[in-house]
Amino acid sequence: MKVEARLLIWLGVFIGIMGIVYGIWSKEWGGTAMLIGTAILGIFPGLYYRWWSKRMGDRPEDRDATMAEGAGRIDTFPGSSIWPFALGMGCWFLVLALVFGTWFVVIGLPLVIFAVSGATAESRRGGDASGH
């Protein structure tokens, strides 16, 4: 995790320095704000990863390791799920409501709520509803 953290922090610091130079030189605050915001977007997660990398040490993927060291459970992967599709359709209707009028919300919003709850419940059960 060390390299990952360093990458983000380095990017953030670089962009931050650019932001400061740009801000002082141009006095154009829109671009300066975006640069500083971007810098923070790199530095914050970077620091978080750094903190983690200290706590957990090198993982098998951070050093020389044999496959056997990584054997076992990696993660839970849902085999298939209808909720992404439902959520996507819900979001689509919400966006169409922006164009064609609010009645699209009547379909979109319930669909979004339904899909988000469905997906959450599915995660609680440990993913895969279809069984694989």
Binding site: L7, M18, W25, L35, T66, R73, G88
Partner: protein
Amino acid sequence: MVDTLQPTTEHAHDDGHDEHHGASGLLNWLTTTDHKIIGMNYTVTSVIMMLLGGAMAMLIRAQLTVPDGGLVSLAKYNELFTMHGSIMIYLFAGPFAFGGLANYMVPIQIGAPDMAFPRLNALSYWLYLTGSITMLLGFFTAGGAANFGWVGYAPLSNSLNAPGAGADLWVGALILTGFSAIFTGVNLVATIFYLRAPGMTMFRMPIFTWNMLVTGILILLAFPVLTAGLVMLYCDRHFGTHIYDANGGGSPVLWQHIFWFWGHPEVYILALPFFGMVTEIIPVFSKKPLFGYKGMVFATITIAALSTGVWAHHMFTTGVVLLPFFSFMTYLISIPTGMKFFNWIGSMWGGQVQFTSAMLFSIGFLLTFLIGGITGILLASPPLDFFTHDTYFVVAHFHSVVIALVIGAMAGIFYWYPKMTGRFLSERLGKIQFWLLFGGGLLFVMPGYLVGLRGMPRRMAVYIIDPTWQNLNIWSSVGGFLMGISMLIFAANALKTMKTPKTAGPNPWDGHTLEWFTTSPPPHHNFYSLPNIKSERPTWDYFHPDAPALTHDDHDPSHVPGAVKADAQ
């Protein structure tokens, strides 16, 4: 469901393992969370978008063969170039790279069973698909599709100048595809940070994966800005705010700042994946390791960092931006980019180069991108930009770049098609397609540069009656049509090979990276077994145990090329 990574030894299941899950085809398709199927969906959808955007380009080029062309009305022409540009940028180039090939290949290249968030990945695709449909719906509304250019500049995009539903559909589509891209960015970064196989350290990742990591980070930095900008645009259009409205105390230039703060990193979000692809392909078909692995990684990161500080080179002529800053930063980017070119050439140098279609397309990518890059450096000089801004010189410049991307896309498709389908595309058709696409591309852009220097403005359906201008335009159109034909050949090739026998086998190219270790196409969750990973070429190491060890840690004497590998399996 709990997944277990198989230990390293050979462990051959029979095929068909991935057949027995799920019900009918359509339901399967709607509910899939498999990154390979989602990646295929993305690839196919985005190629269809490219063909649609290409068809519009054909209309545009046909219109411009005569100065007073009456093929389409002035108003329709505005819609055509807006939608052509928007489809190509928002719906083809990005989604093809980060949603399509990266989605498919990145997990496999790092030895992972899937993306980190499979359901989020599926959601990305649905948002992309619905966003694409939303944008295209504009053509079917009374007022027609969006017509203010793919950049949606204020005040052209406000509710007075673009009152129609087509404009709102454009805004809505970009909000949908924007979230789609952000979710894909999250997925790429999380997958690469957390799901690498043991031994797959950051500096052993394939360069394509590295490039997709940096692309993912750039997406996360850039796209939220665009989405926020679009929400404000919508508010200006409908809720009476005056954020981009000079009359109401707002600032039209703010939109340009926001748009290009996304827009220039976007250029690299589009380009880095293709850089990554050709960096995989060139060494494989030169039978050599990549020259300068760490330099490549460093160059990619540097390009990304610098790309956030150059946005206003698109705004030189507004008169309100800090010219020296943006000009200088833009020049700086050419340093890491030039480094990449040296490494690509170094990777071919002295190798046994095999001119397969994938390799030809990769070389075509380099040459075409080089032309776009060099004219880009010219445009980074404010005096030259003042002279050529909004002329066909600029159109020719960025088409040199984007045509390179199309050529790079073809390189990626020809390289990975056997992995994704188990079948080969026809090499013969591939080579014919290459020469038409590459030659047509050059023929299309070169007259554009010339007519641009003579002052022909972009985004115009008619131009002054001048034989030189018309001749240049006709040549340009011929080039465009040749590219169109090359795409038809590609479509024929893909259809023709759909039913051929699966003869590719796991590793047809003697590849370097993990995707060539598994079956073609890979099984559900990608691997039956994995080799030990000791370098950035695990598959190659496995199949060539006696070859000299390779590592980029040149300072370590036991690792210099020529030394015998310390622990051959």
